[in-house]
Symmetry: C2
Subunit: 108 residues, 2 copies
């Protein structure tokens, strides 16, 4: 990513940016949608759903877990991953500020 001066942004901005970044890959969006459809899932399920290797899926799942978009716990030989929507309201709330009507006098 090059050098990002993280110290110059607020914690909220950094938090939101990391959430958006995690959402900024089609595979992770597809994974999230699949998990939310199932209400629970294991890693292998996702591997058979997407044309990615097990290693790649696992990495994407870890990334989603790191930013708190999913939760996961070991369950026998497999792992149960499921949605964590604790942060979703914050993201939606943040986007509301951009939902004001377009200014007609600007960049028409």
């Amino acid at each position: 990513m090059g050098i990002t001066k993280t110290e110059t942004y607020t914690d909220q901005t950094l938090m939101l940016a990391s959430l958006f970044k995690a959402l900024g890959h089609p595979a992770r969006l597809a994974i999230l949608q699949y998990i939310s459809k199932q209400s629970s899932c294991i890693c292998g399920d996702v591997v058979s759903e997407l044309p990615l290797s097990q290693a790649s899926i696992s990495r994407h799942l870890q990334e989603l877990k790191t930013v708190g978009l999913i939760k996961g716990e070991i369950s026998g030989t497999s792992v149960c991953y499921c949605l964590n929507n604790d942060h979703i309201p914050d993201v939606i709330q943040f986007l509301f500020q951009f939902q004001t009507p377009n200014n007609p006098t600007c960049c028409s």
Copy 2:
């Protein structure tokens, strides 16, 4: 970014992922917030707001413009950039599907 198999995802997924990706950097979030506060702005304003070079700000502005989060047009010696909220509702709508209550029987 490495190799992303874009052909395996729906257009909607790719579109949303690119929007999220553009939102996934603190500088671009800060720029968007600044622009939305002003209702209009010029590039120079942002340069003095953020600790980034003019070249870097310009690149971030271009990225936001490419995905359609801002609009811009030449206006004299400067450039007027302003918010384009055409895609914001789509993003919010997409996030709604993840806002279901956490499943208490899963990954407690």
